[in-house]
């Protein structure tokens, strides 16, 4: 399966482990990623703060370069922020006609053009859970991650904004990453703040605000006895990982929670060596945690199906599907 691939600036630097692990698992999973030729920065949140049309044009250049008769129709971004910017530009250029027109006028000055909607912008996890599928993935697991309590952390921009129902997962209570980790054999820790904000670039602008947001997430995951958090966004990984010591120092906490990418977890479960997945480059070391893989798991009591005679509790609501 062929996909256009937009790595984004962080995959070459702060999120190098994400790039390495993605490339490592792509082959075995049958995914071919064709990097967009000469792609430019998506602008993150900064470009849009001081520019409007130029910000959309900045992103649209990538869309224009990625689109073409002989090119794959799906453009995959592993970084949630790049994913959002590409997806939003794609959507807004179609929805807001004058914006679309102006952006194309700007592109034309550079000899480019993009017809909004001609590409499907997708996040890497979307491709893995929907195109490869849980079953196929499960079949490739040779070293199940039993013994690991994993807190799947989605962050914001994978699932929000909804953009007219185009969201990959539920905007408030997503479950795809949970299910993915389960497929890999890990014990999934469903912590309530799994899609709350990591603070984004606030670490640079108002560190106090950001530290508190980071602290909340780590605290909640730790409360639920997670061994590590798994992410799918370079910004989230950076904030939770690189700033963990800062948070400990400034807020008097004592967190030691490694933060790994979901692609690294997939690689581990498929039997790959940690080094091949760039594990070891994280600031909060994952070594101790990885030793837990394959260790004995406490067998939990099977849930009671019959109500005890003196059980006065009221039944929980039946949640309807769809």
């Amino acid at each position: 399966m062929r996909y256009g691939y937009y790595p984004g600036c962080s995959l070459t630097g702060t999120a190098r482990p994400y790039e390495v692990s993605t490339k490592a698992i792509a082959g075995p999973l049958g995914l071919t990623f064709e990097e967009v030729e000469d792609w430019n920065c998506c602008g993150a949140t900064e470009y849009m703060s001081l520019n409007k049309t130029a910000a959309y044009a900045l992103v649209a250049r990538n869309l224009a370069l990625a689109a073409g008769e002989d090119k794959p129709k799906d453009l995959v971004a592993p970084c949630s922020l790049c994913y959002l910017n590409l997806r939003k530009t794609n959507h807004y250029m179609a929805k807001y006609k004058s914006l679309g027109k102006m952006t194309n006028q700007a592109l034309a000055a550079g000899g480019l053009h993009y017809t909004p909607g001609s590409l499907n912008v997708r996040h890497l996890i979307d491709v893995i859970v929907n195109d490869v599928g849980y079953e196929a993935l499960g079949a490739r697991v040779t070293r199940p991650l039993t013994g690991l309590r994993v807190a799947p952390y989605y962050g914001c921009l994978l699932v929000r904004p909804d953009l007219n129902g185009g969201s990959f997962d539920d905007t408030e209570y997503p479950t795809h990453l949970d299910r993915l980790m389960e497929t890999l054999g890990a014990e999934v820790v469903d912590f309530p703040l799994k899609t709350h904000c990591c603070g984004g670039h606030m670490t640079q602008i108002s560190a106090e605000t950001a530290y508190e947001l980071i602290r909340r997430l780590l605290h909640n995951a730790a409360e639920y006895r997670a061994d590590l958090l798994v992410t799918l966004c370079p910004m989230c990984q950076f904030n939770l990982d690189a700033y963990q010591t800062q948070v400990n120092r400034h807020l008097g906490t004592d967190f030691h929670l490694p933060i790994l990418y979901f692609t690294q977890m997939i690689g581990l479960a498929m039997g790959m060596e940690p080094k091949a997945l760039a594990i070891g480059q994280e600031i909060v070391s994952a070594a101790s945690v990885l030793r837990k893989i394959g260790t004995a798991v406490e067998v939990e009591e099977a849930p009671q199906t019959r109500r005890k005679r003196d059980d006065k509790s009221l039944p929980m609501p039946r949640i309807r599907e769809g």
Binding site: E172, P192, L193, R216, K312, S313, L314, P317, R318
Partner: protein, 675 residues
């Protein structure tokens, strides 16, 4: 014979006279249009004086046709037709030209507006001279009435008709009547016990000699027309012989299969596979739920049969069908509650102590799963603090844009009950407080005095992730207190979600069955939102209660009574007039192709096998004209909309192209020569 046409141009104050030179139009009509013997302009034609003007002219000048150029026929066609018929001129010899809605309200340039008005008058004048006298048909009204839905609105309607001496068939989908009101604990603002005020009416329905209660039944199909409907009702099998059953309840006691009661107990309590929804159920007969009964599942058990003292259990029972004839139908099918799981950030279904309003009613209700004690999901602990969240699914473009009308009052009611029964702190999170009706504002004041806390802010999320001291083990409601301008987190033990009222899940299909349309929201459409809230566009079918839109109990009762009064009126009159604007098929020209049969939106056309031609039932026909246009043999003509009349009107509209030459006014001709 040439007709004598009187033309009247209305000023409508300045509505028409502003943009249109009405005097000029009148002058022009008199001078240029064939057949016009007089033309007047007048300030308000619809006034008594205006109508008298027409009547005087008919009397004194011998007018044989009348054209009124004024507002839309929707408003005053009836007025002018009646005025003419009172003085002896057949009402169908009048025609209105809508020079307000179609000219003065939409044309800015005065010259253009005046010109267009003239053309429209020309069209009306040409047309009216080809119009014919028509007489409405009188059909008898069957005095029986069908009431669909046994909630409070349906019950009210049924009792009023039955007390007036008329027969009522009440069809109710559930095993018992009572509707949602039967689930409530207390009602606002009086804090009357819901069951105490409802059950006497339910008993009346059950005992009334004029009401035939068909419970655990649904309407399968409806056909016919006002005064004369044929209804097929499907009575679902109870598997209990109603003639033998004494209602003793031993079967329920002995039944070993316990399941969650999703309907009456709102998923909070249990019932058996054979059950009565609640103790005061009317009728008293239980029902065996086929989907959960062990016998139907595996062929074993039959405990109920073993213990029944009167041999009333009958597993061989099948659904039965009844065919009824009624004159009118009152639909009172009620509402469903919004699925709060659609707003995941409120935690419903995930966080144990988040409840919906209906679930909370069951908690409070003495006959409910906790015998009236307000307890947390563990069934043991009393809450010390409760948060009540307004507008869950209402006033929300992502779910329902409308306001559900009753939730603010429910919040006050719940607050009172919580404080009374548990002494807990109560916090209400609202966007606006809407205590709109009699004694409602006073009830709000009462709750303020009782110490309920009100925070103006739509809740952002309900979470169990503690952050600040005092939050551990609690549900934290996070919202912006907009009147202070700060984000606040309020830890509580229990959260009540005031979910939206929404149309029944099958409202659309039900509506189709009865010929009642639903709006974009899904609520049934009334004939006029201000002036006719219980009638629908289908004569003889009325709506009452929440199926028309969210409302409280007093309004539901009022609508039930209003619908009953309308039906009563028709029954007393004994007959109903069917408008004569219908289509007829000329048998000689009909080839029996039957294209018209399937096109008719009112199912008014049937095929007569013996004659091999189609026939239009004039009572069902609404004169829409679809078949007239579709017939390949031009065998169908629509009364009051014949081809000649339509072409004449068009010629009038094209006056400045055709002029008065080349297109002369035709006197009424016989039908076109056969091809």
């Amino acid at each position: 014979m040439t007709e004598k046409v009187g033309v009247y141009i209305c000023h409508c104050g300045t509505n028409i006279a502003g943009p249109v030179d009405v005097e000029e139009v009148a002058r022009w009509a008199k001078e240029n249009l064939d057949g016009v013997v007089l033309a007047r302009d007048y300030r308000f034609m619809c006034s008594s004086l205006g109508q008298e003007l027409i009547q005087e002219d008919i009397k004194n000048e011998g007018l044989t046709r009348v054209v009124v150029a004024a507002c839309s026929p929707h408003l005053h066609e009836k007025t002018f037709r009646t005025a003419c018929s009172k003085i002896g001129l057949n009402p169908y010899l009048t025609q209105m030209a809508s020079i307000r809605e179609q000219v003065s309200w939409v044309t800015e340039d005065r010259a253009a507006a005046t010109h267009k008005a003239k053309m429209m008058v020309a069209g009306a004048v040409r047309r009216v001279q080809l119009q014919e006298e028509l007489q409405p048909t009188e059909v008898p009204v069957n005095p029986n009435t069908l009431v669909v839905g046994g909630g409070i609105a349906g019950i009210q309607a049924a009792l009023e008709l039955a007390d007036a001496g008329h027969k009522v068939f009440m069809v109710e989908r559930e095993p018992s009547i009572g509707g949602h009101m039967a689930q409530f604990d207390k009602t606002f603002p009086t804090l009357d016990c819901a069951a105490c005020i409802l059950t006497p009416k339910m008993s009346d329905v059950g005992l009334h000699e004029n009401i035939e209660l068909l419970s655990y039944a649904e309407v399968d199909s409806l056909s016919g027309f006002v005064g004369n409907f044929d209804v097929r009702v499907r009575k679902k099998a109870r598997y209990i012989d109603e003639d033998a059953c004494t209602g003793c309840g031993i079967c329920i006691e002995k039944c070993p299969k316990k399941v969650v009661d999703e309907v009456f107990e709102a998923g909070l309590g249990y019932r058996k596979a054979v059950y009565r929804p609640f103790p005061q159920a009317i009728p008293k007969f239980p029902v065996i739920d086929r989907d959960t009964c062990i016998y139907f599942e595996r062929g074993t058990c039959k405990a109920c049969e073993k213990f029944c003292p009167t041999e009333a259990i009958d597993f061989e029972q099948t659904d039965t069908y009844l065919d009824l004839n009624v004159g009118n139908v009152i639909m009172a099918t009620g509402y469903d509650l919004f699925d709060c799981g659609k707003i995941p950030q409120y935690g419903y279904g995930r966080l144990a102590n988040v409840f919906t309003s209906l679930e909370f009613e069951r908690l409070c209700n003495a006959a409910g799963p906790t015998e009236g004690h307000i307890l947390l999901r563990d069934g043991v602990t009393e809450p010390k603090s409760v948060g009540i969240i307004h507008c869950v699914g209402s006033r929300d473009k992502q779910h329902h844009a409308y306001c559900s009308a009753v939730c603010c009052m429910s919040a006050l009611k719940f607050g009172h009950l919580v404080m009374e029964k548990t002494g807990a702190e109560v916090y209400s999170f609202y966007i606006d407080m809407r205590p709109l009706h009699k004694n409602y504002e006073e009830f709000y004041d009462r709750l303020l005095q009782e110490g309920m806390h009100f925070i103006r802010g739509r809740v952002a999320e309900v979470t169990d992730a503690a952050r600040l001291p005092g939050e551990d083990g609690k549900l934290i409601i996070q919202a912006e207190d907009t009147l202070i301008g700060k984000q606040r987190r309020i830890p509580v033990d229990m959260v009540i979600l005031l979910g939206a009222l929404q149309p029944r899940f099958d409202a659309k299909e039900t509506g189709l069955k009865f010929g009642v349309s639903a709006g974009l929201d899904g609520w049934f459409t009334e004939r006029h939102p201000k002036l006719d809230p219980v009638a629908t566009m289908t004569d003889g079918v009325f709506i009452a209660g929440t199926c028309q839109g969210p409302k409280d109990i007093p309004d539901s009762v009022a609508q039930g009574a209003a619908a009953a009064a309308r039906v009563q009126g028709m029954i007393s009159k004994g007959t109903v007039l069917i408008e004569p604007i219908v289509a007829t098929i000329e048998e000689a020209r009909c080839s029996g192709c039957r294209i018209c049969n399937t096109l008719c939106p009112f199912n008014a056309i049937e095929y007569l096998e013996d004659k091999a031609v189609s026939y239009i039932n004039p009572a069902l026909c609404k004169g829409c004209g679809t078949c007239v246009a579709a017939c390949p043999a031009q065998a169908i003509s629509g009364a009051h909309f014949t081809n000649d009349q339509i072409f004449a009107e068009m010629e009038g509209l094209l006056y400045d192209v055709i002029g008065s030459n080349g297109a002369t006014v035709k006197s009424p001709q016989p039908a076109l020569e056969p091809a």
